[in-house]
Symmetry: C2
Subunit: 338 residues, 2 copies
């Protein structure tokens, strides 16, 4: 019952608490964002509305990698370095996988122990949702709450095996992919297309017996990434190695991210990317709201399912199906009024 808040904070308490950087209130606000109760969601929305002008100033970093790549250890070392620079850091986790596999990322209670005790750091897994869209949406709002609470660097962590990377990519400024050195199958388990949307690849666990293999993997990835053309930002994704346990390579990664921020800010890409992201959040939210409205109605839900089936069976074209769906929707909206 960790999710229930009794009594619920008032809107003013929430807003003031967040703006003052109160960690307990921030945690409560995120819980409200994640709540399935309409009342909670509305309260969170109102709070967000009051703090929205205080958002946007953080550097948003997405970090992904297959299970076992050492994400927690890396983020702990990276977070230690960032907070060591006096920066306030929030770590959010997005994981739309099933409850069964979710344990891999959320279950380990000993994750980031040291960072969790650091007064400059705030660590928070985002509650799972039935849809990726839902999770993405909640993580986005949690991120904005953290920004309003004064966190200057936000890390959004996800596993590299699902569809969540694209969602994370759409909400961060910089997207980092952690990889393990291995024998030719370095990318096994990483979904196709992820390497190509990364702004940097870091070969993790580059220590002990692994140093040589990590350097070899670095070369292989450099060659592979060299084959890919530059992205719109003009940034060429570098490949670095790091040992989180020995703290090696961490500073170089942080400096590399700051260089990205500097260069893309100078070129205007940083701000342009943000603007595009915000417009697409708006459009996403609109589609989701609409879909939720459709799902609220048994008749519309049934209609949608039937039309999908007809389209799959080549009984009607997708265009006609879409038109029929829109007509059913209009009828429902008008019917509700009268």
């Amino acid at each position: 019952m960790k999710q229930s808040i009794k009594p619920r904070p008032k809107l003013d308490q929430l807003v003031n608490g967040i703006l003052q950087g109160d960690r307990v209130i921030l945690g409560q606000a995120i819980t409200l964002v994640e709540s399935k109760l309409e009342h909670d969601a509305r309260l969170a929305e109102s709070a967000l509305e009051k703090i929205i002008h205080k958002t946007g100033q953080a550097l948003r970093i997405g970090i992904t990698g297959a299970p076992g790549v050492g994400k927690s250890t890396f983020i702990e070392a990276f977070g230690k370095h960032v907070t060591g620079q006096g920066k306030k850091l929030a770590v959010l986790t997005i994981d739309p996988s099933s409850p069964l596999t979710k344990g891999s990322i959320l279950g380990d209670k000993t994750r980031m122990e040291e960072l969790a005790r650091n007064p400059l750091a705030f660590i928070r897994p985002t509650a799972a949702s039935s849809t990726l869209g839902g999770v993405a949406h909640k993580t986005r709002e949690a991120m904005l709450l953290c920004e309003a609470a004064g966190y200057e660097v936000i890390i959004i962590e996800t596993v590299g095996v699902g569809q969540s990377e694209v969602a994370v990519k759409s909400m961060v400024d910089f997207f980092l992919l952690l990889m393990l050195a291995g024998a030719g199958d370095e990318l096994q388990g990483i979904k196709r297309g992820i390497v190509e949307i990364a702004d940097a690849v870091v070969i993790s666990k580059a220590d002990g017996d692994n140093v040589k293999a990590a350097a070899a993997a670095q070369t292989i990835y450099q060659q592979a990434l060299h084959l890919l053309s530059a992205s719109e930002s003009g940034w060429k994704p570098p490949v670095l190695t790091a040992s989180a346990v020995r703290g090696e390579g961490i500073e170089a990664i942080w400096k590399m991210i700051l260089r990205y921020q500097r260069e893309t800010t100078a070129s205007g890409f940083f701000e342009k990317n943000r603007r595009h992201q915000h417009i697409s959040w708006f459009r996403d939210s609109f589609s989701q709201l609409l879909q939720r409205e459709i799902e609220k109605s048994d008749a519309l839900r049934a209609k949608q399912k039937a039309l999908e089936q007809s389209v799959m069976n080549h009984d009607i074209s997708s265009q006609i199906a879409a038109r029929q769906m829109l007509e059913a929707y209009y009828l429902a909206i008008r019917g509700n009024k009268t």
Copy 2:
């Protein structure tokens, strides 16, 4: 004025002509699909509705590659081989680029001269549209019309430099990427992420002085693709070389595509992929219809623009903006009725 049809064919003429494989009528039907006139679009929609049950039997192949890679020459040689097997082949072109750059793909009137005269082949560039969604939609419908007209292999051609690949990928069974051998910068000009969604890479122009470089490029790409994990289909994208002018490697490519069809049909992936595609066409069509409805209203269009601006300026959250947009939309729908 090539776009105008005077007099317009009647619905029955259209439907019968298409089902009989009449090339002139098929061409007219595609022109109607592309027309911006509401009346034409509705006529095309009605025709499509009547032939939809005759669609879906063709093998749908997407072909992309940067300008200069030799797409036309390749498709000409490939088409010669496919029609040589007695198969009816339709080639459609999708190009959402600006009128200025469009010439690169559509402007050259001498493209595929031989194939154009082949009675088993039907070649048709799809008219440009202001939006990629619009082009994709039209190409999809043109493809269905070709299928109903009895074409057994459909090639959707696009340039590898825009966003159109993802649209093409979403409408074909097999996605082929043409590349040129070069000095380490083989993928220059190809958008990031395209290599990873390809079902095969073909190094083109592997003839004359280029043979060695093509073989080297083949090795490099094989290594790079080896780094990528298998896609959901279980298919490992092969890298082949071809010389269109010498007709070398063409048969191997056709056999490879047939092997893909065989293996993914056996595994059930082929059909599953099609079903997913059709559902997403339906959803796309629905979103587009909705957006068109919004754009029909000056007030709603202005509202959307204002909300986007507010979201970008951190004045309101994307969630609240979406809710306001939906409310405005509902008001408009209800207002229209009363």
